[in-house]
Symmetry: C2
Subunit: 199 residues, 2 copies
DNA sequence: TGTACCGTACCGATCGGTCGGTACGCAATA
DNA sequence: TATTGCGTACCGACCGATCGGTACGGTACA
């Protein structure tokens, strides 16, 4: 990936995040990047490819990280914690990109839209599978796993509106806080009644 | 409010929800409503006022309902439950309007933007105050109330992407589910250590 | 001599919005 | 009852501006 293209994507993410995909014109982008029309279109195929690249990059990154975490973490509770931390850290580090994605990914068309939807589906399914595995092992509430997972994903996804990468609390602390709330809510009490732990 | 204006707002909500505020042109709206340019602008001041009206109506509605619930419900846990049910029911019943609001409210400008932000702030503060009151009474975790409330609001707000008004589960059931998860997560155990309940 | 990079000029389409003018119903007046 | 005046609803042409995108010539470096 050429360094110019990198710069253009950064600038596009900034503009799209501020004005929306349809609200930000290519004239603004020229100004922001410091290139004129011809040069701009030499590096990018068209406007939509910018939106696509922004979404795709983040989503593929998250799917990759999440897959690795799931592989390495047999315990479901711990797995959720690591998924949560990774997700929130990424949202905070790439707030602009996630803002663009959540607001405007459905402005994509054709294959590009389908690919992005596919990536979203794959990511969501990773969480779903971890939950399902917890249900199988008898440690998570079996009722409505899909809705439950959509709930915790909502907690994190909504955070792109207020999270700050260098905020007072670290992103890991916030992720843990949400994870604790969620886990306390869906964990079943240990089955053959062992002596009560502290917590 | 004239019936024509009502119709126009409905159609605008549908279009804006599908294509985004900037992505939906007035030509499409003419077609959808069945009125031509002149007639359209006879009823609406301008495009932005449509966006404003869509957001304002829903927000004022929710602030009104929430205020009343808080007045009538001294118990914080019960109050959260009623707030949650009312919120999710409204999101499901006006999914198009909420889609438009969440995606594009920041396309508003000047006083209209400020008014909408003010309404959002007021609604969020209602939840915050209920939480704070629970902390004062010693039944809720005192740590990071703001982040905790943003979490549960995230669970509900994100639902506009998948909720169905006539879905398999009723909206109340889903609201209760999330509320239970949240409350289990933030409720402190009853103070003078009573014998452990089943649950 | 080719190729990557960039600027200039320009395209047709569409953007949100305004214009003068018309059709029609209601109410007051003669 | 006939006439007049007026407000509401609507049409269709038109506005300047901006939209995303392209054609092409120049330049610098291989």
């Amino acid at each position: 990936m050429s360094p110019q293209r990198e710069r253009i994507l950064k600038a596009a993410a900034r503009l799209f995040a501020r004005d929306g995909y349809h609200g930000a014109g290519m004239a603004l982008l020229e100004q922001e990047v410091g290139l004129k029309r011809g040069a701009l279109y030499h590096h990018i195929g068209n406007k939509e490819s910018l939106l696509y690249e922004i979404s795709r990059t983040q989503l593929e990154h998250m799917v990759g990280i999440a897959s690795k975490i799931v592989e390495e973490t047999p315990d479901e509770a711990e797995c959720f914690r690591r998924l949560a931390r990774a997700l929130l850290r990424n949202i905070a580090d790439h707030r602009l990109e996630w803002t663009v994605h959540y607001r405007d990914f459905n402005a994509l068309t054709g294959e590009r839209l389908e690919h992005v939807l596919e990536l979203r589906r794959r990511y969501s399914e990773i969480w779903q599978r971890v939950y399902a595995s917890g249900v199988e092992r008898g440690i998570l509430q079996p009722a409505e796993p899909r809705v439950a997972v959509l709930g915790i994903l909502g907690m994190f996804n909504y955070s792109y509106l207020w999270i700050e990468a260098e905020g007072r609390l670290g992103t890991d602390r916030i992720a843990d806080l949400y994870c604790d709330i969620f886990l306390r809510g869906v964990l079943l009490p240990p089955h053959p009644a062992p002596p009560a732990a502290e917590e």
